[in-house]
Symmetry: C2
Subunit: 141 residues, 2 copies
Amino acid sequence: MDFSIGELARRTQVKVPTIRYYEQIGLLAPPPRTEGQQRRYDKKGIARLAFIRHARELGFNIEAIRALLSLQDNPDQSCSVADRIASARLAEVEERIASLSALRTELERMIEECACGRVAECCVIETLADNSHRNGRLAES
Amino acid sequence: MDFSIGELARRTQVKVPTIRYYEQIGLLAPPPRTEGQQRRYDKKGIARLAFIRHARELGFNIEAIRALLSLQDNPDQSCSVADRIASARLAEVEERIASLSALRTELERMIEECACGRVAECCVIETLADNSHRNGRLAES
DNA sequence: CCTAGTCCCTATAGTGACTAAAGGTTCAAG
DNA sequence: CTTGAACCTTTAGTCACTATAGGGACTAGG
């Protein structure tokens, strides 16, 4: 009925050091320990970590997850807060997709135009060296 | 005809500490200095940094940029290396777009289904808590 | 020549979300 | 009781910067 950290890791697909890291930053409550100071988890611990993992898969950052967990712990609150967090994340994802799509277009053009001879006439290098580019922001990935 | 680091920063839209960082990691050659040890750049320095900035905008990492710069310095080589680097980046971008699109779909479903009453029946929280999710990898943003 | 103010210098530490490694302890099976 | 896997803590490393502290250099005006 209670699991070691390795068992928890196996069941949630979250790595052992990551679990300890989550505890360290206060995302997971410190579980009870054996006499030899080893952590023991129960089913609740699994559910908690699975929640966190799923939220991370959706790209929520740690602070957002902290907020979502505290909502889960207080089920009488309005869920508009959860809605706002999820909507903010959705907006981020959409913006990211838009910016990556623009990147894709530029990369495709760059690669396609390249005659692929010497570097001297390589469009890839030329495009990068072209200092007529003045479009603001750096890519975030 | 020669610029201070601040002037270079203004002309390339790259921040001053970032320029020093690029020098530190060997992406930019150390420029000559004044008697008082202040860096002085010329037009070549601008071109070099503009190249780097554009490459970063396209999401190339530092190692890729290092390779692209060395190609630019040896224009007699075949440009297939440049092509390979750019294609690899394009593949990354496409993979990323695909994974973010899947995320968007899930987030949209989550938000749309939510009746937005109490957290107790909130679909957002419910979806996250649902441990029937077993789909492998974490989102990278 | 002096001063004020802006720019520049180095070195170090912090960001987010982990991951790796070192060096030691505990647990479960046989 | 012994073996070996799993556990423990602490510290440092990842990437590409960004921020801060504590000082020195340069330029324009008086």
